[in-house]
């Protein structure tokens, strides 16, 4: 659609940068850094899932870590039992999606308010944390996969080429897959937001009552957004379990849930690239802080969040976008081109 040309330019730019990184980055950085970057990418997929449901669907989910953890555990348990990773990979997306659909149905069709939404999703995450945490004994196992309690599941078999269990993924392949899937998720969500359904989703976030008066059923659209967010978080969980060949209940923890929200706030709500930028930046910063003993990393992260909320409330990406727009307006000649159609949704989708 011509109206979204401006939006698609920024999307194409982001995708092009992603593809260039996919091609060139493995050739210019060492393996250790590549593995480090891979976890940034895996977590970026998780960040995008919350960025989508919160920034575009208006659903503030405090428990995105629940779907992330479910994805990781589903993959770990099923791959230990099956050997070949093809079905476990799919299950790690489907199971969190179904869980999100069930939870979303209760929340949205039960007409629970936003406050309860936050409370329920947070509680569910903590319940899962405690549940998995208390599965330490040898009796706690699904098939051949012991759940391991607080120690988690170690030595998770890596992803393999579909149908060929002997051809496992390498660290380099893991980087390619993570970045490739991040690009696919980003492009897919951008396409969705620009579609008819995407417009309705944003409209419901803007004014649910007006959307209802026009005949749209917000419950159905929110359920769809929430389920899709759960599926993407599950995918991130699967990648996480593969990255370290390990998963533990801490991924269901409060700290994990809070971190995802911080990534989105710092990067910028209402954009898809913002959560990626926020996630990479904060994770890189956490790693850097971890190399010294002077400051506690949680203290620094807390201070960053407070500073961003107070000084850059829109987040990095929207603020940079606004700055560039202002600079562009200053340098542009007076008058308006009839082809230039800056629209609200396009602005919302920039980057």
């Amino acid at each position: 659609m011509a109206r979204f040309a401006a939006s698609w330019k920024s999307a194409a730019l982001c995708i092009a940068i992603g593809v260039l990184l996919l091609i060139f980055l493995p050739n210019v950085i060492d393996d250790f850094t590549l593995i480090q970057v891979t976890i940034y990418l895996v977590m970026s997929v998780l960040a995008v899932s919350l960025g989508f449901i919160w920034g575009f669907g208006g659903i503030l989910c405090f428990g995105q870590a629940a779907f992330f953890g479910l994805g990781a555990y589903t993959y770990a348990i099923s791959v230990v039992n099956m050997g070949d990773s093809t079905v476990p990979f799919m299950l790690s997306i489907v199971v969190p999606a179904l869980f999100a659909a069930l939870l979303g149905y209760v929340i949205f069709y039960g007409r629970l308010s936003d406050v309860y939404m936050g409370v329920i999703t947070l509680t569910v995450t903590l319940i899962l944390f405690n549940l998995i945490n208390s599965t330490a004994g040898p009796e706690w196992k699904i098939g051949n996969a012991p759940l391991g309690g607080f120690n988690g599941i170690p030595a998770i078999p890596p992803l393999n080429w579909p149908g060929n269990a002997d051809e496992s993924i390498t660290p380099r392949g893991m980087f390619n897959l993570s970045l490739g899937l991040l690009i696919v998720v980003y492009a897919g969500l951008r396409a969705l937001i620009s579609s008819r359904i995407g417009h309705v989703i944003v409209a419901i976030k803007e004014n649910e009552q007006r959307a209802q008066l026009l005949g749209y059923d917000p419950r159905a659209y929110k359920l769809f957004v929430f389920t899709l967010g759960g599926a993407i978080a599950g995918l991130a969980g699967c990648l996480f379990a593969n990255w370290g060949s390990f998963t533990s209940p801490t991924i269901f923890g409060l700290a994990q849930s809070a971190q995802i929200i911080i990534w989105v706030i710092v990067g910028g709500l209402g954009t898809l690239m913002g959560p990626v930028v926020g996630c990479v930046l904060i994770q890189w910063l956490t790693t850097q802080i971890g190399t010294q003993q002077t400051f506690n990393s949680n203290l620094v992260l807390g201070a960053i969040l407070v500073l961003f909320v107070l000084l850059v409330p829109k987040g990095l990406v929207p603020s940079i976008g606004m700055l560039l727009e202002r600079l562009g307006r200053r340098s542009a000649p007076a008058g308006r081109s009839s082809d230039a159609k800056p629209v609200a949704l396009a602005k919302e989708q920039q980057a």
Partner: protein, 246 residues
């Protein structure tokens, strides 16, 4: 007796003994209301008379405690809040209810595209914005517009879905004299194809558009007649206009 019973024609919308209670407040009492296809009805009443609640009932935003709402003979009183809109009841609320972060075009398009195929939705959006004189503002962010302009945008949003019944809650509120006259003209034009229920306080505006007026007081329908008779009615003068009967 219902309108259907009198004329043998099913009314466009009809309420039967409609009641709503909010805790101890009886907001709507046994309201029997009937509107024919393509009819224009004005509803008046002092503040707290139950006008807004009545509109919320018709649009599914509030569920009645008892009674029925029939739209073309079908009971809609227990439907989900989005279903009356889907069936063809459009409403322009008192304080414009719009997608403030979206452009004027997007607001109207969202309404048009629910009932039209993509290309047709674009055409409908353009013609509707032209009709209310807002095409030039189609790229503006709705939240940045002046109140009067937002009223026009909301009217365009309602019209774009082409609903058989349009409810207008104080459409002339906050408008200049020229805009009021333009609004009256537009309402009469809309009435050629759509039935309308208009809640309004401005009696001069009501005289411009109404053939029949319903008076609500304390949640009850107390009179239903032509504007002139309503204005001359001592009870209406007493409770609505604040005049004591001679």
């Amino acid at each position: 007796m219902t309108a259907a019973g009198v004329t043998g024609v099913t009314p466009l919308i009809e309420t039967r003994a409609l009641n709503v209670r909010f805790g101890g407040v009886h907001a709507t009492r046994d309201v029997n209301f009937s509107l024919a296809e393509a009819e224009l009805r004005c509803v008046i009443g002092p503040n707290g008379a139950g006008k807004s609640t009545f509109f919320k009932l018709l649009t599914g935003q509030v569920k009645p405690t008892s009674g029925q709402i029939l739209f073309r003979g079908k009971d809609i009183s227990r439907m989900q809040p989005h279903e009356p809109g889907r069936m063809g009841i459009g409403i322009k609320t008192q304080v414009p209810s719009l997608f403030n972060g979206l452009s004027v075009w997007e607001n109207v398009w969202l309404s048009a595209q629910r009932v039209n195929l993509p290309q047709r939705a674009k055409d409908v959006t353009r013609t509707t914005l032209e009709r209310v004189g807002m095409l030039a503002e189609s790229e503006a962010i709705t939240g940045t517009l002046a109140h009067g302009q937002r009223q026009w945008v909301e009217l365009a949003v309602v019209l774009a879905a082409d609903p058989p019944l349009i409810l207008l809650d104080e459409p002339a509120a906050g408008m200049s004299d020229a805009e009021v006259a333009r609004t009256a003209e537009l309402i009469l034009e809309i009435n050629r194809q759509h039935a309308l229920v208009v809640v309004e306080h401005d009696m001069s505006f009501i005289r411009m558009i109404a053939k029949k007026v319903t008076v609500l007081h304390q949640g009850q329908v107390i009179r239903e007649d032509t504007p002139d008779r309503i204005m001359a009615d001592p009870l209406v003068q007493q409770i609505y206009l604040g005049k004591k009967p001679h």
